[in-house]
């Protein structure tokens, strides 16, 4: 059983896992959103994310060179080998919590892909360039909802504050750098995520101001997703997502 991926493959898998897990979460909304238009926009975002996951996980498997494709990586790894950030695996909660997660993540992803679209490794650059258009739309969509909910009714404001409060402790992890990041940068594929922080703060703060919301207070960061130390939520998400592949080993679909 292959588990750990070589650094550059791991780097690609982190990107793929972020998109996959968030896409999976958004898929849970389908048919249950507050309005049909919202339902359509959430599944649109989910669809983009699943597409990104397919590309990045496919790339991870190709770099690894052990015959694992995107599906093998998505459906046949356990929690400790998933390397998504903790933010994306957080439960949907109410609509405000879902929007808080999307807002914080999509602005990060937009900044990340802006840089990645220019890296030397064309495989990473091409996926990022294509995804950037999608992600800019996700960031706008989520920001618009943060403003509507923050500057809507008393109830929506309270819910938006609670949603941001739930997610905020997982934001530092987005910008944390480790050996895998360093290896990816050295290979001409990686981005200095720590350097994105100031722009992310500025973008997030601008939207929060328009939403008449205060920036959540700084707090102790919860980290670990990149090295397989996840929340309890991820195991349940995987058991649902991987059910068919696990129950019918070797079958093709």
């Amino acid at each position: 059983m292959v588990s750990a991926l070589p650094p550059l493959a791991d780097y690609a898998a982190r990107l793929g896992d972020d998109s996959l897990v968030l896409g999976q979460r958004l898929g849970e909304w389908c048919g249950h959103a507050p309005a049909i238009e919202v339902d359509l926009s959430l599944s649109n975002v989910a669809l983009d994310l699943i597409g990104q996951a397919t590309h990045f996980l496919g790339l991870a498997g190709a770099i690894e060179g052990a015959g694992r494709d995107a599906d093998k990586l998505a459906f046949h790894r356990d929690v400790m080998d998933f390397s998504n950030c903790l933010l994306v695996e957080q439960p949907n909660g109410d609509f405000a919590q879902t929007i808080a997660r999307q807002f914080l993540f999509s602005h990060y992803q937009a900044l990340l892909f802006e840089q990645m679209a220019q890296v030397k490794d064309e495989r990473f650059a091409a996926i990022a360039a294509k995804a950037l258009k999608e992600v800019n739309y996700h960031a706008t969509l989520a920001s618009d909802w943060v403003v509507r909910l923050g500057d809507g009714t008393d109830e929506s404001k309270a819910r938006m504050i609670a949603g941001l409060d739930w997610m905020w402790r997982f934001t530092d992890e987005l910008f944390a750098m480790d050996d895998v990041d360093a290896a990816a940068i050295a290979a001409g594929a990686g981005v200095d995520k720590a350097a994105l922080r100031a722009d992310w703060d500025a973008r997030v703060d601008a939207v929060l101001a328009e939403a008449t919301l205060a920036r959540p207070a700084a707090r102790r960061a919860i980290v670990g997703g990149r090295v397989g130390r996840h929340s309890e939520h991820l195991g349940h998400l995987l058991s649902e997502m991987q059910f068919l592949q696990r129950a019918y080993p070797g079958a093709s679909w």
């Binding site: 249950h32 995107a70 929506s156």
Partner: protein, 334 residues
């Protein structure tokens, strides 16, 4: 069918009370295959029948998101997940176009939603059956979207313009769904023993409910004659059902699946399949709201609506604040 009259017996709309001259002109236009547009005069009964039919179709698209949405998080691979997400999203889009088409007849989306949630409005009986395995996603695409196309292709030439135009857009996507569903079934039927069993079981469970989608037999369908004359409908329930059987049986055979009907037999003389009797008692029970998962479907729609109320209210209040802000800006600029 999504559009089959499920209003019950004895409630057929009649045009008896209308101005005879206006009515004659209207009927002549319809007979000449002209489109009736929202601003044109139309008999009240025509308007009511269309509102019922189009809103019922819209509700069917929206409720229909639930049985398939049930498998989005469990789709077996990334490609199937993406296809299913896009498919369910299409159905939501169909619901939207159709609500818009119905709105041109003077009914609001909120009113239609209220009617659905209160149980007053109907939706297709087919969505009151559960999706138990992945093969059900194949069966729904193949059979349910397949049956929907059979009914909706003729509706592209239905007499009411906005409805006909909505159908043109929708039909393209429905035929795509049908092919994707059949492709899932084909794959399963050629797969492991467990997958074949899953595929056959899905066909066994979805076959008869799919035949019921075309509605009661012609001699028990109260509105058919009027609707045919007004070109709201273009074929009878039994004609469409026969056509569906004739097209679908060879598709099942081609992938080695057995249609669960011992009476099914090719009739050389008619050039069509003879098939067994549909269990109409079950059909009427499902129409009455007694389907296996009818309560779950309505509960899911009610929950989405109630849980979303604060979101819709926030969006409304925010839009108002913006509008006031813009007016003040405009005044200030003068």
């Amino acid at each position: 069918m999504y559009t089959t009259d499920l209003s019950g017996k004895g409630k057929a709309e009649t045009a008896a009370a209308e101005d005879p001259a206006m009515l004659a002109t209207f009927e002549a236009r319809v007979a000449a295959d002209e489109f009736i547009e929202p601003k044109d005069w139309m008999p009240e009964a025509y308007r009511k029948t269309l509102i019922r039919q189009i809103s019922q179709h819209a509700h069917s698209e929206i409720v229909g998101m639930l049985p398939e949405g049930n498998w989005i998080t469990r789709a077996p691979n990334l490609r199937r997940k993406a296809i299913l997400l896009a498919k369910v999203q299409d159905e939501g889009g169909h619901g939207l176009y159709l609500y818009c088409a119905a709105e041109t007849l003077g009914v609001s989306r909120d009113e239609m939603t209220e009617a659905l949630l209160s149980g007053k409005a109907k939706y297709s009986t087919i969505f009151n059956y559960p999706t138990l395995t992945w093969a059900d996603i194949g069966a729904i695409g193949w059979l349910v979207d397949g049956a929907a196309i059979m009914n909706q292709v003729p509706l592209q030439r239905t007499s009411y313009g906005p409805y006909a135009r909505a159908m043109v857009r929708i039909c393209k996507e429905e035929s795509f769904h049908q092919r994707q569903g059949y492709e899932i079934m084909m794959h399963l039927a050629a797969g492991t023993e467990a997958q074949k069993r899953m595929a056959q079981d899905a066909l066994n469970r979805w076959w008869w409910p799919s035949l019921m989608m075309f509605g009661p037999p012609d001699d028990k369908s109260p509105n058919t004659e009027q609707s045919l004359r007004w070109r709201i409908k273009r074929d009878t329930n039994d004609e469409l059902r026969q056509k569906f059987v004739d097209i679908t049986v060879p598709q099942a055979e081609a992938i080695g699946l057995t249609v669960p009907d011992p009476a099914l037999k090719w009739n050389e003389e008619r050039g069509a399949y003879d098939f067994g009797d549909v269990d109409w008692e079950e059909f009427y029970a499902v129409v009455r709201g007694e389907g296996a998962v009818a309560k779950e479907r309505m509960q899911a729609r009610q929950k989405a609506w109630e849980d979303g109320a604060w979101v819709r209210e926030a969006a409304r209040v925010h839009a108002e604040k913006k509008a006031v802000g813009n007016r003040q800006l405009a005044v200030g600029a003068r």
